[in-house]
């Protein structure tokens, strides 16, 4: 009986406590949370907004993607902190971390109230609050639940259930003690949000100088981060043995890294157009945002097994060829970001079988040493069966691209 009463009382008390928490977070930290605006110089209008929060009396944290335009075209934009009621202050970029989508800014306006960073992650299922400025509507606090680290992700992300909306990017997510556990970064829709862990924020703070660097220095930093990241991402894949499984007569990798997920599909038997196909594709769900027109840091693979059974070999060949006649990059890149693709196409022997192999390369215009590569191979059909394999790598060095291609060509073969 007593147990039931206690439980009931706890239930009644719990609601106001929760509300209290959100309210206190709002009241205590309203001043430490600002809106970051990217202002276009000619029109004097906002071109991007996001949230930012004080971590010391003059240092702010926000997302890199909020301020990316300022770095891409320095002269065209200004970075402003909207402190409410016509109080706008110019912000300066101290450091960025494009891999984790973070930026460290300095504000001329000192702020006595700051967020404290949590020393560890909350327990799974614990209540957290995401703060920010969604849709330019003013500060909001959104309660949510911490669901642990995002699985199968190369870039560390916390998984929070709660509505993180555009504009809340760069705002903090805090635990019930109002300590920052991470920075809001993305939403997968349906109340699923992703948060960059506080450890990455600490790393950025530790690496940063107190001086305001030139934009070119920042770009150099970004290049170094991209180079280090692709090395870190690819080296385990290059050194480890790939798990292979058959797709028709072709051998395709299943798990080459925990963050690369594979899917499969086969054509339905009743949909008889003369060619049976089975496809498998592998890829990452996330990539690195560099600008509106450029994303990178992504790996993707596709495999297709074709069986033309009753078709005439020439007819099969005609349709087989059309499968490789068109291919494109997987990451977003504009004409100003990358060069044209330059390709090499040849008949190459892979595990004793002749293959049409196509290898295309494009270079990043602003980031020397980085390339996007595209690989496409089709086994020369002896009968009415074909095997197409394909991968794209975004933002890798020449050595890594070639090493990956070598490994891929050795592993992904026709097993006779």
């Amino acid at each position: 009986m007593l147990y039931r009463v206690v439980c009931a009382m706890l239930l009644i008390l719990a609601q106001p406590v929760l509300a209290d928490n959100a309210q206190s977070v709002f009241n205590n930290y309203q001043d430490a949370l600002i809106q970051v605006q990217v202002i276009e110089n000619q029109t004097q209008r906002k071109s991007a907004i996001g949230s930012g929060f004080y971590v010391s009396d003059d240092l702010l944290i926000t997302n890199y993607h909020v301020i990316a335009e300022k770095i891409q075209s320095e002269q065209q934009y200004q970075l402003m902190a909207n402190l409410g009621s016509d109080n706008k202050q110019q912000l300066h970029i101290i450091a960025v971390d494009v891999i984790n989508d973070l930026a460290l800014l300095r504000s001329p306006q000192k702020q006595s109230r700051q967020f404290t960073l949590a020393t560890g992650l909350p327990a799974q299922g614990e209540q957290v609050f995401s703060l920010g400025n969604p849709h330019d509507l003013g500060m909001v606090v959104v309660p949510g639940t911490f669901n642990g680290m995002k699985q199968q992700s190369f870039y560390p992300r916390l998984h929070v259930t709660g509505s993180i909306n555009p504009g809340m990017s760069g705002g903090p997510s805090v635990n019930s003690n109002s300590e920052v556990i991470g920075v809001n970064v993305a939403t997968a829709g349906n109340q699923i949000g992703f948060v960059v862990p506080v450890a990455q924020v600490n790393a950025l703070l530790a690496s940063a100088n107190s001086e305001v660097p030139a934009i070119d220095t920042l770009k150099q930093q970004i290049l170094q981060q991209l180079l280090a990241n692709q090395q870190q991402m690819l080296s385990p894949m290059l050194s480890e043995q790939w798990q292979m499984q058959p797709l028709g007569s072709g051998m395709v990798p299943t798990d080459i890294a925990p963050f690369v997920q594979c899917w499969g599909r086969a054509s339905e038997p009743e949909q008889d157009d003369g060619i049976d196909t089975a496809t498998a594709s592998c890829g990452q769900s996330e990539q690195i945002y560099l600008s509106d027109s450029l994303t990178t840091g992504k790996l993707e693979m596709q495999f297709e097994w074709l069986d033309g059974k009753d078709l005439h070999p020439l007819k099969f060949n005609h349709h087989y060829q059309s499968r490789i006649s068109y291919s494109g990059a997987d990451n977003r890149a504009g004409k100003h970001d990358v060069t044209d693709f330059s390709c090499r196409s040849d008949i190459v022997e892979l595990a004793g079988k002749a293959n049409r192999v196509i290898f295309c390369v494009r270079a990043y215009k602003d980031y020397p040493q980085l390339f996007d590569v595209l690989y496409l191979a089709a086994t020369i059909a002896a009968g009415q069966q074909g095997f197409v394999s394909h991968f794209t790598l975004a933002g890798v060095t020449q050595d890594n691209a070639k090493a990956f291609a070598r490994k891929f060509m050795e592993a992904v073969v026709w097993q006779s």
């Binding site: 157009d273 003369g274 060619i275 330059s342 390369v361 020369i380």
Partner: protein, 329 residues
């Protein structure tokens, strides 16, 4: 000395040629004349050509309704024939008077390709060439058709219309020839164009084989640019030779205009090569592979220039950008 009278059509082409040894020749629509004119604007007794005592020919108008005009268009009553080749107009009929000692043009040698022209006139070859072209089109439709929804059998019905389209040029030439009084030679023209289409199909098959085995070799690329031009050149040369047209500028300019489409078209296309690469993707069944495949390592080694070239382009871009920034205020 005998006298010759030529009747000319409005283009100046000779339609009739008469030779007389008598001292008097009558011209007119009446059936009693030596030369019976068909022109309704000429009179029954229109003009009289006579040799006088001084052994000089003269043409006299017989008070005709529409009269007689000399070369300058002046109406004349009587005109002495002072030289060979003098022209008159009786009503609307053009007439030329020649003396028999008038020299004739040099003999035209037979066209060196006359033997081939005779071959082109063979109906057997024409039917064979048309059949081959129709077959190659049918083959294309059959290749593309896949599954139950395929319409390739129905598409075969299009073939006669496509053939008719290719026959337009010979038909056009034949029509023009009839109008200008030349030989139409429709059949050799038809045979010519269909033989050329057969050659074109052969070239496509050869190109597929070359592309498959040699990738983007200079040989294939050069051939694929030059061959269409060469084929067009041959086509117009034969086509004009058949019609006995010796206007080289027309021949060359038609070839240049038509073949330049082949060169200009790819150039006018929008390039999205930063997004969609272009590469050799020719595939053929294994028996068509006549060369040794490359090894993985040499394929990778040959990819080095791709990195070097694109990196150089990127470097150039950065240099241009820095220069632009430096020159900006």
């Amino acid at each position: 000395m005998a006298i010759l009278i030529e009747l000319l059509n409005s283009q100046g082409r000779v339609t009739e040629r008469h030779k007389f040894n008598q001292p008097q020749v009558s011209l007119g629509r009446g059936y009693n004349n030596d030369i019976i004119l068909l022109d309704p604007h000429s009179c029954a007794e229109h003009a009289l050509l006579t040799l006088n005592e001084q052994q000089q020919w003269q043409l006299t108008d017989m008070d005709s309704v529409n009269g007689m005009r000399n070369q300058r268009g002046q109406r004349v009553k009587q005109q002495a024939i002072t030289g060979s080749g003098q022209e008159f107009t009786l009503g609307k009929q053009r007439v030329r008077v020649l003396f028999s000692d008038q020299p004739v043009a040099a003999t035209q040698p037979l066209h060196p390709a006359e033997q081939l022209f005779r071959l082109l006139s063979s109906p057997l070859i024409l039917v064979f060439a048309m059949l081959l072209v129709a077959l190659s089109m049918g083959y294309e439709f059959w290749l593309a058709g896949l599954g139950e929804d395929s319409q390739w059998q129905k598409q075969l019905l299009l073939i006669p219309f496509v053939l008719l389209m290719f026959a337009l040029w010979p038909l056009l030439l034949a029509g023009w020839a009839r109008f200008s009084g030349r030989e139409p030679r429709l059949r050799p023209q038809l045979t010519l164009i269909f033989c050329l289409l057969v050659l074109w199909t052969c070239w496509e098959a050869l190109a597929a084989l070359l592309n498959f085995n040699l990738n983007n070799s200079l040989l294939t690329r050069g051939l694929s640019l030059l061959l269409p031009t060469a084929l067009l050149l041959v086509f117009f040369w034969f086509s004009f030779a058949l019609m006995n047209i010796q206007r080289r500028w027309l021949h060359i300019s038609l070839t240049v205009i038509l073949s330049s489409i082949y060169w200009i078209y790819p150039w006018t296309q929008q390039h999205n090569q930063h997004y969609v690469p272009q590469y050799q993707h020719q595939l053929l069944p294994q028996p068509w592979l006549v060369r040794q495949p490359t090894a993985i390592e040499s394929m990778l080694d040959s990819s080095d220039p791709l990195f070097a070239d694109t990196a150089a382009t990127a470097l150039q871009h950065r240099a241009d950008k820095a220069e632009k920034r430096a020159s900006a205020p």
